[in-house]
Subunit: 108 residues, 4 copies
């Protein structure tokens, strides 16, 4: 079953989506929101696609590889943007995204 085969990927996607959503929320509360605009945008993109892919895996979607390819590219872009910022939520998000990008590449 897909859920068992991809148990680690599911956890990685889940942690990445949570980190991105937390970073989105925290960026909107920063003093300098303007500096975080691209981060806010990519956090939403990344949280959405990770959530989507996790959900697709658990329903045994036949398209995990195709979706993981897109997800990996989005995670990579979000990791790069988040790594430019010093906020703790950005650093944690960059780390979660980089890990998730690699996990996605492995199944793509």
């Amino acid at each position: 079953m897909a859920t068992e085969q991809h148990a680690e990927l599911i956890k990685t996607l889940h942690d990445c989506a949570a980190a991105c959503n937390h970073c989105f929320d925290a960026c909107l509360q920063e003093d300098d929101v303007k500096m975080m605009a691209q981060c806010i945008r990519l956090d939403r993109e990344c949280a959405d696609i990770c959530t989507y892919l996790e959900h697709a895996i658990t329903r045994n979607s036949p398209f995990v590889a195709e979706l993981a390819k897109a997800c990996g590219a989005i995670c990579e872009a979000c990791a790069e943007e988040c790594s430019k910022h010093e906020h703790d939520h950005c650093k944690k998000c960059a780390e979660a995204c980089a890990k998730c990008a690699e996990a996605c590449r492995n199944v793509a």
Copy 2:
């Protein structure tokens, strides 16, 4: 069929989601992003739930009324926030959200 019965609601939800997503994108490109933080947050909430509900109606979901109740409350909050701002995208979004809030109340 739900799609025919709810043809007008589907269009209203669709226009509202598009207006919210456009407002989200435009707010992130404003000079004063900080002032738009709550607008950005609510635009995402509202675009997401309108998209969700539209999608649910077309699959003949038995839960249109329950979802429309939540959607209407979110549209209302987004309309209120957007109406505080003078940007053209906010004004258009406020209008689309107010119209959608009413349409949702009618089916909830």
Copy 3:
């Protein structure tokens, strides 16, 4: 933070979405698919809204209560349908949905 405050709800929603998606997949592979038609429909509804709500909580959505109200009603309907069937995946799904319905009512 919403994620910490709602840690248990997040887990309950996650388990419910996974159980519903697994039940959806398994129902489509049963010999008597016709008997499972309503279960397949409600599994999709329930997995989708649980995934949506979990995602909304982690982005600190101001609308957790409104969404939880709709989610609870959907979980309840899915629990009722799944409890009519003897398949192991249906029984597990009914249990996860009943638990999630109650968790949703507590925050709604």
Copy 4:
């Protein structure tokens, strides 16, 4: 703006998602649901990703090409499955999916 640049793709995705969701609903009401099991599965996959991509375009996502690549592959698979069946909803769905697959390939 992405919404204007991709106006035709947005309409094509929207029509495809609606056709897939209608086919999903109609398949679940057929006499021989078992024969439609793969169609039901792919209708969900295809409706979900088309809805996702349409939503992503309207928020000016930087990842339209990556997502369109996955979406095109899913549309193609759904078109192929639906074209095996004689039901009117399957034929219309196959047509909408084939058109959408081509539109996705053009932006991927």
